[in-house]
Subunit: 441 residues, 3 copies
């Protein structure tokens, strides 16, 4: 067994990381993404400009489990013009204005005829909703309720210059090989148009995490997947089959930029190592929320389907659906905060550090405590009330280094942060007081 | 495996069920029941007029485990007359007035001599207590404390026209056979005289539940036992021996008519299926109480003795001993409410529905979600914040239909009521998306 | 299987036990104990005057696991004199005044030179701290901060008339053999100088417990160890090796005399029988605190090292470090209360009673309840709301006497105090209703 990964834990998040991730979000924001098409492809290309992403194309019509890859959707323009020829709904002003995956149309109709095609949010009258119709050929427009109410009776021209044609579904993948083939999966959905928190924030944080890991020593292999939600994850799973058995830990990343506190949603298994690692990190970092697994949400639905049952949790800040801006035009660049992005990256760094460094050791002196004082690890003057932090971590680590407890177990039982236990274990190894379990064989 | 029982869950409790059960309680109320004798026999006959009950007689002297069936007790009249010849205590006014199982007596005595034979409730001066002396030959009278205090010094005539003779102990039994020999036991004690809640209410609700089950398809066999408390249950258990191994679930029913909220007392095992089913139903129906098993109470004491350890819980409203009217003349017809009886019957219907319908399924598409949209089971326009109830139940059921979770497990983990999961499973089976576990073999 | 130990549970703590233990604390208080030396030896001799303690000597230089028995320390006198020849620090006034294990010294120096050798407590200016330097040869003095501040500039004479020479480490041991070789370990550290609660209180209570056990029938063997902290426990463990496997239960006793409520610190295993017994006793005795195991504290650190992992908990009143007087001159005779010592002894008696009497029985009538009434164990007149304490305990004991539950299990599940279950079991055995599990073979 080689020395455990150490570097990432000691790597600070750069002061400008939040601003740089926000700038990346801003760069991606204008693109009209969907579950297929050029907006998605351009998004993957911009990620690939930062990390060595490989982009895969899955042709229209490919069966993937119970699903079929749909026709590719692209869109040039879309609008509704009033009788004066004014664009009262305009895709060029917001790509949310068209129901995503709308079939092409060019028609004149009365407001009454058009009305069933128009989606708005009566209780958020200034915001445009985000709506899709991927699997039922349809078309429609989204607009603010204020604007809807202002539409006058008369004849309107509705135009959607889109195409629905044989093509392919794109996803991006990066495998960073580590010392072992065991994998950590990091997955972010990449199909939403101009919605900043959901999920450009997840994409940006995942991309920066990959950048940090590129140059770090790695015990695990890391697989980053940027794919359209649902159908993309399903296509990826269909393409990887048995390889998915290598996934030891995984996280779906989404909504990582809003001002809310972080939330962790457990994997289907509930007590997997990723669940314990994430909850440990969040507990010691401060206020956070915990949610049990449910088969609603993002692609943890697919990773956690019963045939796979992968240990994949989900990290967000405010969970999807739990903030009013969710799936509306108010999920914009101002809704995403640089400091939240940076904090999210820090959480991920800490979780990865736990995964990398968690290991089982054995004390070389299991009978009674070893004499730390003669090794300079214990204060010489005794009798004081409190022992210092390192002494406490050393004693806990020695006491539980019995081949049955890993460092995360020790951190949890002692109540100490993992990183302190990790450092205590390193000191004890330097002094020959710990050996990796199985290492003496 | 055949289709699971479905009908009872969809059967409403008739609007007049409460009133009809209350009328049945009123019909039974005047009888002077005991653990043997004609009052008990007449009670069983009135039940048998509604459901095809079989009545068994166990002769006096029959050994039943550590016990022996006692002599049969019957009573014609009992009273205490004062010097003027007035009945100051009168069995004909209330059959609680005599200590149940009193030996015959006819004696003149002073008040001081009589006094130790008189039982009253000083802190409930208007109520007559219920007292028994089954296994020690004795006699006595019960009266209100007010009346006791009003007794004047003088000579009294105490007469009890009872018999204690070789005879038999009666109990009633109804076995409704189902698709399997596995049984659900429903047990109600039938030995108390004019006490309405304890346990004419339990008898009435059990009788009406049996009526509902008579015409319903049944996966389980249902065994209803109406027997005197303790000795009757012991005699029944002694007679059935190894057959009791067929009992998969059971409930002791008592005190089901008062105005209090329902209470469930767990079986000795604590986590048996009946415990989970009952607690699930009560949780979703509203306010209720839960009690751990204890070897005090009704015949769950015998079913839960260590040699049997049957999974038998107990359903009551306010538990025995926890309402002041318990075992007094105030447990009368007014104390029992039609709406409580009807609610108790509804709880039982729901518990039975869980037992009948709980089953393990497997998704036919375990890898990733099946595409519900193409089957018309998922809304076409995506992007909304909340999914509807059926969608949520479908997704939970598919996710946990892995051969390891039954429908009750799924209901518990999802937090959804069992009935919604049951309906989701039915829809999924119609669409070929679920198969019974083992069904494909 | 013989009759279980019964006597100790029924033995009251004598009314003068607290006063007598306090007198014993006072007798031991003036001695200058350390981890070796004559102060420790005299302490053991005073214990041996009360109970048949055997004193062992482990020579200087003996390797004990990772440690080595140090040179023996003895001290005659120590002081600091000012220019006027006045003893401004005086070992004869308080043996805390010298850093314990100080090397001999005789030197003149300025206050500035002396100052780094002086230890005080700025936030407790009237108290002298307790400091040690066992394993690094050093010397120093302890004094109140008030006195430190009052020292004038000038030349001082520092004298410590101590010796550090080849000798031995002493510990005392008493083994009271019982019916079985299975042992209960009672361990108290005996190395602290004039500190009354820590740990003359523990020594006194352990000594009196041993006195109580001397004449009692014993199922277990009891091993009392009075040894210097850490090195003494390590030397004891090193000397006993495989014998420690006989230890079924153990307690480290310390700080048992202050006015605070009792605290139990769990063994490393957390759910050992000693943990359950101690927590049960404390729960039923009243207010108390519970602490999880940690590898900080007293000799439970060594007993709970991973190679031994002995089921040894710790009983204190206010835990070490949690009261301001800890390791200062304020931990004096007034700080220790006779009534606290007596209460601590009562707790230990009750814990020992649980250990001695806990056993697994089987009901001789496992099918249904046995008829208690015919044995005079059940009130004849039925119908009352509440059953008496003995009836309740009898029913619980019978119900759970299934060969799988011990009496402590029954006490825990019933919520009744162990002693009531113990007495119910005794009654049931007298009536032939219980047999020891395996006893019929």
């Amino acid at each position: 067994m080689t020395a455990p990964f150490r570097d990432l834990a000691d790597t600070p998040i750069p002061a400008d990381a939040g601003a740089r991730m926000h700038a990346f979000v801003a760069e991606l924001y204008p693109l009209c993404r969907s579950i297929t098409g050029d907006g998605l492809r351009r998004t993957l290309a911009l990620i690939a400009a930062r990390i060595p992403l490989e982009v895969r194309e899955v042709p229209t019509g490919t069966p993937v489990f119970d699903w079929t890859v749909p026709r590719e959707w692209n869109i040039e323009d879309a609008y509704v013009k009033n009788a004066k020829g004014e664009r009262v709904i305009d895709f060029r002003a917001s790509n949310l204005a068209v129901v995503n995956y709308s079939a092409p149309v060019s028609a004149r109709m009365t407001l009454a005829e058009l009305r069933p095609r128009l989606h708005s949010l009566p209780d958020k009258p200034g915001w445009i909703p985000y709506r899709t119709s991927y699997y039922k050929e349809d078309w429609g427009f989204c607009l603010s309720h204020e604007r809807l109410l202002a539409l006058e009776e008369g004849t309107y021209e509705a135009v959607i210059e889109s195409t629905l044609e044989a093509g392919s579904l794109s996803y991006g993948e990066l495998l960073l090989r580590g010392e072992t083939d065991d994998e950590v999966l990091i997955s972010a959905h990449a199909c939403h148009p101009s919605l900043a928190n959901d999920n450009l924030a997840g994409i940006a944080v995942a991309t920066f995490l990959a950048e940090m890991l590129l140059d770090a020593p790695r015990r695990y292999s890391y697989r980053f997947v940027f794919a359209p939600g649902t159908i993309g994850a399903i296509a990826w799973l269909a393409a990887h089959g048995d390889e998915t058995r290598r996934i030891r830990h995984g996280l779906v990343l989404a909504c990582l930029g809003d001002a809310g506190r972080p939330h962790y949603k457990k994997s289907r298994r509930g007590g997997a190592a990723i669940d314990r690692a994430a909850l440990h990190v969040l507990k010691h970092r401060g206020d956070h929320g915990v949610r049990e697994f449910s088969p609603l949400g993002y692609d943890e639905r697919q990773y956690g389907s019963p045939g796979f049952d992968l240990p994949v949790g989900s990290l967000t800040r405010t969970p999807n659906g739990a903030y009013p801006e969710y799936h509306t035009s108010a999920d914009d660049l101002a809704f995403v905060r640089p400091e939240s992005l940076a904090d999210s990256l820090g959480i991920l760094r800490d979780i990865v550090s736990v995964l990398e460094n968690d290991a089982v050791y054995r004390s070389t002196n299991p009978f009674c405590e070893p004499q730390l004082g003669k090794r300079g690890l214990y204060s010489a003057i005794g009798g004081r009330t409190f022992q210092d932090d390192l002494e406490v971590a050393l004693l806990w680590t020695l006491n539980l280094a019995d081949g049955a407890h890993g460092l995360l177990d020790i951190a949890e039982r002692s109540g100490l942060p993992f990183d302190r236990i990790r450092r205590a274990a390193a000191v004890l190894r330097e002094h020959g007081l710990l050996t990796p379990d199985g290492g003496a064989q």
